[in-house]
């Protein structure tokens, strides 16, 4: 098991109208990319709760992608602007806590940017591969499991 090549687990939180559609376009254009990323679909980046990112890390994600419509292109006019403010503050908070924000890729990918989606996934995967498995956060979780088992 130890010798197995590290394949990071990455969750992508994307909006329905731009990035999800962009990833569809990557498919219809048959552009290949790494299979490590799995997409959770949301109506809008404005819907993405910061708690979900924490839960993903807590459940063992090695990396996270958050992506939506470019500024001014939001299907709902301003959801992505709200999201941007949320990420600006959340990201600096995580950094202050010593949680590696390099493991979260924030991006704008439009419905026309199929190639950008593929590149984004590949970049993220290779970056996370370099960083290695995210154990910091998981370890504190495991510590708990061990303790429970101990009892």
């Amino acid at each position: 098991m130890e010798n197995k090549i590290f394949e990071p687990k990455i969750v992508a939180f994307v909006c329905n109208w731009c990035t999800y559609a962009g990833a569809d376009l990557t498919g219809t254009s048959r552009i290949k990319y790494a299979p490590n990323v799995k997409i959770v679909r949301f109506p809008c980046t404005g819907r993405i709760d910061f708690m979900l990112l924490l839960k993903a890390f807590g459940e063992g994600a090695d990396g996270i992608i958050v992506s939506g419509c470019h500024p001014n292109d939001c299907h709902y006019t301003s959801g992505n602007f709200h999201a941007r403010r949320r990420w600006i503050s959340f990201r600096s908070l995580l950094d202050f806590l010593g949680i590696d924000t390099g493991r979260i890729t924030f991006s704008w990918v439009s419905a026309a940017e199929g190639a950008k989606w593929a590149a984004l996934v590949n970049d993220t995967v290779s970056r996370i591969k370099e960083l290695g498995p995210y154990t910091d956060y998981e370890k504190v979780a495991r510590y708990y499991e061990e303790e429970v088992n101990h009892e």
Binding site: L54, G58, R85, I88, S92, F96, L97, T105, Y137, V140
Partner: protein
């Protein structure tokens, strides 16, 4: 009797206020919050540097709300809390008289929120130097050092929620930690859950925290989690020009500017 005692006694004896919330001498040279309804009690009111507990927290309690008109001895952080709570529709103007005591010791009675709002808006939230230094110290650490620092600090937390109880802004009738469908935050206290709790708390106070320190003062273990909200206040100043509790302004996270600046979205 001094000025605020006289005002408090007057309000109670005239029946203008049904209750005065303030501080009085407690045990072991500490002050305790008091809820006076009789004018003669007013002479035991105290106000000094020991009065750090944010008594605005009581204003949203159901027991207090039904009491009629409340007067409150309010330090600047308490005044800020009142304005913030008012902007969140938690307090009604007719039911509160603020006997404000400014940082310079001046006693100012506010009968309406507009005047209080104007006063609060004329001040700004400044993070004390000792906390700024501590924050800088943490920021200068490497990522791993920071992680270890916080892991160490937060592993101690046993989720007594004293911080939540002390905070006037934590007035939700059902806190997210008490939600079990889905269970956002695990009930037992372990480091991961503690992280989640404190991150969530900081995010929920984003743009709302009045920096009164009541949470940290309340923590039985002295965990410096108030650095999180303080760091956010400093960061907001850099990113969005800062905030001040106000009846007119918008909350930092429920508003935006089309040209908000960031450098990390690819």
């Amino acid at each position: 009797m001094n000025e605020y005692q006289t005002i408090a006694a007057g309000l109670l004896s005239s029946g203008t206020a049904a209750m005065v919330i303030g501080y009085s001498e407690g045990s072991a040279k500490r002050v305790r919050p008091v809820f006076f309804t009789r004018p003669e009690e007013a002479s035991t009111l105290v106000f000094d540097s020991r009065c750090v507990q944010n008594i605005a927290v009581y204003l949203t309690k159901k027991e207090i709300r039904t009491e009629g008109k409340i007067a409150i001895i309010a330090s600047l952080p308490v005044m800020r809390s009142i304005i913030q709570l008012a902007s969140e529709h938690q307090l009604s103007e007719e039911k509160i008289i603020v006997i404000g005591i400014t940082p310079s010791g001046e006693v100012k009675q506010f009968n309406g929120f507009d005047a209080l709002d104007a006063y609060v808006s004329s001040t700004t939230i400044e993070i004390e130097a000792r906390y700024r230094e501590k924050i800088e110290q943490v920021e200068k650490m490497t990522l791993t050092e920071r992680w270890n620092f916080w892991k160490n600090e937060l592993s101690a937390c046993f989720k007594c929620y004293a911080c939540r109880a002390a905070c006037p802004m934590c007035y939700c009738t059902r806190c997210t930690v008490e939600m079990n469908q889905p269970q956002w935050i695990p009930v037992p206290s372990h480091t991961l859950g503690n992280f989640e709790w404190h991150i969530m708390r900081a995010m929920h106070l984003a743009g709302r925290c009045v920096d009164c320190n009541a949470c940290a003062e309340a923590c039985p273990l002295g965990i410096p989690f108030n650095l999180l909200t303080k760091q956010m206040i400093l960061q907001f100043k850099k990113d969005f020009g800062g905030y001040n509790p106000s009846l007119k302004g918008l909350n930092i996270l429920s508003s935006y500017l089309p040209d908000d600046k960031e450098n990390f979205i690819q």
